[in-house]
Subunit: 372 residues, 2 copies
Amino acid sequence: MKRQDLDTPALIVDAVTMNRNIERMQRAAVDFGVRLRPHTKTHKSPEIAKLQVAAGAAGITVAKLGEAQVMADAGLDDILIANQIVGPLKLRRLAELAGRVRLAVLVDSREGVLQLEQALGEAGNVAVDVLIEVDTGKGRCGLGDLEGIADLADRIERSAVLRLRGVETHEGHVPAGAGSADQMRERAETAGRRVEEIAVALRARGHDVPEVSVGSTPAAPWTARISGITEMRPGTYVFNDVNQIAIAQATPADCALSVLASVISRPAPDRAVLDAGSKSLFCEPARRGFALIEYDGFGYIREAPAARIVGLNEEHAIVRLPAGSEFPGIGERVEVIPNHVCPAVNLHDELALVDGDEVVEIWPIAARGKVR
Amino acid sequence: MKRQDLDTPALIVDAVTMNRNIERMQRAAVDFGVRLRPHTKTHKSPEIAKLQVAAGAAGITVAKLGEAQVMADAGLDDILIANQIVGPLKLRRLAELAGRVRLAVLVDSREGVLQLEQALGEAGNVAVDVLIEVDTGKGRCGLGDLEGIADLADRIERSAVLRLRGVETHEGHVPAGAGSADQMRERAETAGRRVEEIAVALRARGHDVPEVSVGSTPAAPWTARISGITEMRPGTYVFNDVNQIAIAQATPADCALSVLASVISRPAPDRAVLDAGSKSLFCEPARRGFALIEYDGFGYIREAPAARIVGLNEEHAIVRLPAGSEFPGIGERVEVIPNHVCPAVNLHDELALVDGDEVVEIWPIAARGKVR
């Protein structure tokens, strides 16, 4: 099958670029002396997760229990659910999964620990690893103060079914509004040092804290270098996207994934309309960054860098073209790099792995839509 | 099955509210003397499409060929694809579908007409209805000037396989930034009159223009009343959403659909985190409107109107609570009305139809993700 045999919109992934991205991050992890546990929410594909493990990854990260089940069913056997899991319906499923694979989950409250313990007890005292989620500045889940964290660690140590594997943070706030790489480095180092300080303090109180885990592709070049960090969980690096370009961590040539789209209308000389809208590209505006080249549209068109996607509806991208552009005409195709690749992937049922003009694989995005 | 047996995040649709919304719009169509051809992109469910037809709808509207195929397979037999369809792969499928149901599609270019004709010819001269898409101010697809439209109408009349059914517009620009209902009415009437003028002018040139079709829920109260309009294609009305509340066309009680979500973390007294993020609610900011009550978050929490969803990540909604709120606690559930219901529905595989605490149906969102 050739690229031109794919109908649009279609997710296409350049195999050479993706494999290079996988190898680069693996090499960085080795250089930094940390384990790489890639976040598979970016691709939601067991096939790609296996490529990451084959390259040296020490297990995988997922965002949801449903994603963990898909990955476990496909043979991935060391899974961190980087999320808080609550409610009896999910915890029953979690207990079942904990019996099948090496599983860990986050906690950030006594109530959460209690629910988890109860479900594991009802399932016959299945044991599961937990990491305490530390808020290092993102302001989402996680505890920020040492006292609260130590209190939770004490509570976990008293549990018959929970094992404290360590502490973790998602330093997703690092790139937000950053004006320079130096500013990002400073934020990343602050976050990484904070979670490491917490680990040291817990050890001083007698806790065993084998894992100190950090997340996020944008922060990875800095957090993972910090002495004491044992694991990193970047996700986006496998494909890259416009947000990565905006902070000068990638160029379009480093972006492995595009949405292949067709022009369906050329109603004005400076306007083209694509058949890929917010149902294909997602609708996040591009991250404000500091790269020399700024893309302020809803995706970057590889074949027409001067064009701007100025608006998205569900099934339409409205493209403003430089005056006098004949390309792209009705029926012609372009490749669009999404602003944020992870939620864009989640909109599609499958991806086409390409090598030049050749479609080498069609892989289902098996963990798509697993929000539960 | 009871509501509490549903795991979260889950789409729930209140049957009583949905049926009332369906009946109201049907009654409005009768009052205005137009046919109602509801846009099914809002629900993507053949079951709900059938309820709309049973209530009196004259066929349905879809956004994509793939949606049309799902609806046709489910027995819906009068379908307008309100979009430009180009490229040989899709046009082959369109020709096949045209042989099975009463089908119409939009055109806005000679190139598009040519491609369509060629594909229908190759399929053994299957005939298909076309409507010329008129741009009445949205600036997406469609032609704005009478000369271009008349030229295209002439071209269609010379075709052996295309039948000119009429003209259509999607006046989706009507609510954008509107400061009052009067301003919306003015814009809606201008758009509706424009497409009607085009129809009159085409008839004066000898064309038969049986259908003059307008779209969009926000504009429907005004465009569909205009003399000469024959058909309207609103979609959102079946569920309503925060965007409809913002322009005072709905209250929360008119919103049939919610995302049922659980609190997974209460890391600070004024913060709760839900397990429904942009992968469950979509990420569009709320429309700026003029209703007395303004919701500026990423969804409206029915049980906590004073709370604000201040941020969404893929799997997390970050909720700012009024000081001292104990509700909602970890594990408790809330119902969130999405800002824009159509793309939120597209993120889910199924919806639960509820009547009070009772889950009466689980329906697959069969046309989810049919972007091709």
